[in-house]
Amino acid sequence: MSKKEILTGAEALIRSLEMENVEIMFGLPGGCILPAYDPLLKSSIRHVLVRHEQGAGHMAQGYAHVTGRPGVAMVTSGPAATNMVTPLCDAFMDSIPMVCITGQVSTSAIGTDAFQECDTVGITRSVTKHNELVMRAEDIPLAIRQAFHIATTGRPGPVLVDLPKDVLQNTMEWHWPTDEDVLESLPGYRPITKGHPRMIKEAAKLLLASERPVLYLGGGVLKAHAAEAVRELAELLKTPVVTTLMARGAFPDDHELCYGMPGMHGTATAITAMQKADLLCALGARFDDRVTGKVASFAPDAKIIHVDIDPAEQGKVRKPDVPIVGDCRLVVEEIVKAVKELLAEGTTQVDITPWRSRVNGWKEQFPLTYEPSEPGARLKPQFCLEKLRDAAPKNTILVAGVGQHQMWSSLFWKFNEPYSWVNSGGLGTMGFSVPAAIGAKAARPDATVWAIDGDGCFQMTAQELVTASTEGIHVKIAILNNTYLGMVRQWQEMFYGERYSEVDLSGCPDFVKWAEAMGCVGIRVESPEEIDAAIEKANSINDRSVVVEFRVEEFEKVFPMVPAGASNDDVLLHPTQENRREFLK
C-alpha cells in the first residue's frame, strides 16, 4: 500500500469502521450524515435501518451487552443526535462500550443555528465517556481509532464522534493510525489494569480471616470477562456470592454458593447476608443506592475490599479498607494466587461453615414466593415468568424493560451463563427491551432472545418490531400487561395511600393486532390453560418475531422491597413471610 490513496471523509469513516472489525451497525440517515451512507452501500458492514434513532442506540447496547464488543450506531445531526441522548446516557450509566457516529452541519455553518444544527458534543458531554467534533477529513481515522480504544478499555462506555457534512465530503490521503499513534494522541488516558500486589495480598489475608464474607459481584465482572476467575475464588473459599442486577449470570444461579440479587428488590437472603457480613468483597460493583439502601446503615460491620477499574469508584460511596484499582479478571486471578500461596504457607481459613449454614437458613426460610391466582382470576406475572423460564430453549438470552416486570425477570429467571441477561440498570430506561432484544439477536442469531416487557414500556419503542420484521431479526416479546405503570402504581399504593395518579393504562391498544400490523405473530394469553400452548407456539416460530401478551393481575406487587431511603435491615418481605421476620436477625 505504498501508493497514495485519496478518499472522501465518508469513505475514510466507513473504511475505519471496517478496520475496527465492525460487522453490524444500527442507524437512520438524514441530511448531514448523507455522505456517509453512500460508501456504506459497498461496505461489508451490515446496516440495520431503525424506525427511531433511540432504537438504534439501544440496539447497539443490546449487541454490546451480549458480545462485549462495542455496539455502533450512526445517525444524523440535530433531532437524531438528541434522540440518541437516552441510549448514550444508558450506556454511560451501565458502562456499555458503544461508538456513536453523528452527522453535523458543515464547519462553516456551525454556530449559525443552521437547519438541524445542535451542539451535539455539548449536549452529550456529560453522558459519554468521551466525545469529539472532527474538523478535518484527515483526522477521521484517528478519531475512530481513539473512539474504539476509549470505548472498550478501562471502564467501558459510550464515545460519540461528531462529523460535519463537509468533513465527510472533503478528501484526504488514507492512512490508518498505529497503536502507538493512538497512545501518543491520548497522553492522559492510561487505564490501570494490574492491581497493586500489596493490596492483593491484603485482600487475600482478609478473605481468609473473615468469619462472614460475601462476594458482591457487579457488572464489572462481566465487562472484564472475570466470571471464571470469580467462580474459582468463590469455590476456593466457599464464600457466599450475590449478583447485582448488572451481574446476573456472572455467577450461576444454580450454584450452591449463589444467593441471587441484593438490593431494593433483592432476595431477603442476599440483602441480609450483606447486612450481616464482616467482609464484603466488591468486584466490579459501585455501591449503587439501589443496592445499599440507606448508606449509613448498610453492612455496618463489614470491612470492604473494593476491586474496580475506575479509581473514582473507590470511596465514592463507601470507604474501602482494601482498595484495588484494576481489571477485575486480572485482579481476581491474582487474589486466587495469593490465597493459594497463603494456604500453602500454612495460613488457614477461618471456619465459615456456621456463616454458610446461617445464610442457607435464610434461603430456606425466605424463598421467592407469590400467591397463585384464584381460579378465574387473572394470571400472576411471576407464574408467566416461571412458565417462560421452564420452556425456554437452552442458551436463551433474556432482555427486560424497566419496572416490575424487570424485577420479576431478574428474580424468577435462572441465569446460569454470563451474557444471558440484558437490561437497563443505572438509568432505568423504559422502552429499552424491544430494541435491545433486536440488537442482542443480531449479535447472537443462534440464540433465542426473549424480551420481557411491560405494557407501558412496550408502547414506548414497539415500532422497532417493524425493523425486526424487515431485517429478519426475529425476537420474542412477552408483554406482562397489567394495564398500569405497575411499579409507580405499587409505590402509590404503598407510600401514597392508594391514591393512584396517572398510572392507569387500561386504554391500551390491542397488542395482538398491533403485533400483526408490524409483521409479527401476536398471541394473547388470558388464562392458565392457554399458557403452555402459547409459549410452545412462540418458541417454535423462528421465521417471524412473536409478541405474546399475558393479561396479568393488576395489583401484584414486587417483594421483597426496601423502601427508598430505608435501611436494608427493614426490608419488606412477601406478606406471607413477614411472620418469620425474626429468622433474619
Binding site: 458534543v121 458531554r125 456529560s126 492522559g188 488516558y189 475506575d310 479509581p311 473514582a312 473507590q314 470511596g315
Partner: protein
C-alpha cells in the same frame, strides 16, 4: 462560594485547595472541566487557564472549595476526562502563587494623592488616570492582593477584577540549573 471566610473572601480558607491540571490543548477542554464540576456539584472558587510553554498543552489552575466534596473524589473524577494529562495538588507552603488585579478607584481631591501613595507602597501600577478615578493594577501573592484591595476599599472601588490565581511548585533549590526545563509539571 464558601461563606466561612466572609471577611476575607480571597484568603486561604482551609476549604480551598489549589489544583493545577495539565490538559491537552483542544477545543472544548475547559467546557469539559467546567461541566464536570457543575454536574457533580463541585465548587470552583477561581479558575485560570492558558497554554503552557508546550503549545499542545494548557494548564488550568483551579482553586476548589472542598467544604462539600472530598478533594480525592474531585481529583479522581477530573482525571477521568480523557483530555486531562496530569493533576497536581499544590500545597501553598511548597508552591509559588501569583494573581493579578485591576481596580478603578475613586481619587478626587485630596484622596488622589493618598491613593497614589498606597499604590506606591504596594508597587502597583497606575494604568489610567481619569478626572476623579484611577485604574490601578497589582500582581503578587493573593494575600498581598487581599490586603491592597482592603485598603482601596476605604477610598471607594468603582470596579475591580481579579484573574484567579496561577501557581507552580516551588523549586527545591531555586538556583538549580535546568530545573524549569522539560515538559510542564
Amino acid at each position: 462560594m464558601s461563606t466561612i471566610n466572609a471577611n476575607n473572601p480571597y484568603g486561604d480558607s482551609h476549604h480551598h485547595h489549589i489544583l493545577t491540571v495539565l490538559v491537552q490543548n483542544r477545543p472544548g477542554v475547559l467546557a469539559r472541566v467546567a461541566s464536570l464540576f457543575a454536574r457533580r456539584g463541585y465548587n470552583i472558587f477561581s479558575l485560570a487557564v492558558a497554554p503552557t510553554e508546550d503549545e499542545n498543552y494548557s494548564r488550568i489552575t483551579i482553586v476548589v472549595d472542598i467544604s462539600a466534596t472530598p478533594l480525592e473524589q474531585i481529583v479522581k473524577q477530573l482525571f477521568k476526562l480523557i483530555d486531562v494529562v496530569r493533576i497536581t495538588e499544590l500545597d501553598p507552603r511548597k508552591s509559588v502563587e501569583r494573581e493579578l488585579m485591576v481596580a478603578t478607584v475613586r481619587a478626587d481631591g485630596d484622596q488622589r494623592a493618598r491613593v497614589i501613595e498606597v499604590a506606591g507602597i504596594f508597587e502597583a501600577k497606575i494604568l489610567a488616570v481619569g478626572a476623579d478615578v484611577l485604574t490601578i493594577s497589582l500582581d503578587g501573592e493573593p494575600q498581598k492582593l487581599d490586603d491592597f484591595e482592603e485598603l482601596l476599599r476605604g477610598y471607594g472601588i468603582v470596579e475591580s477584577q481579579r484573574t484567579g490565581r496561577v501557581a507552580l511548585p516551588k523549586l527545591e533549590r531555586e538556583a538549580r540549573k535546568g530545573a524549569t526545563k522539560g515538559k510542564a509539571s
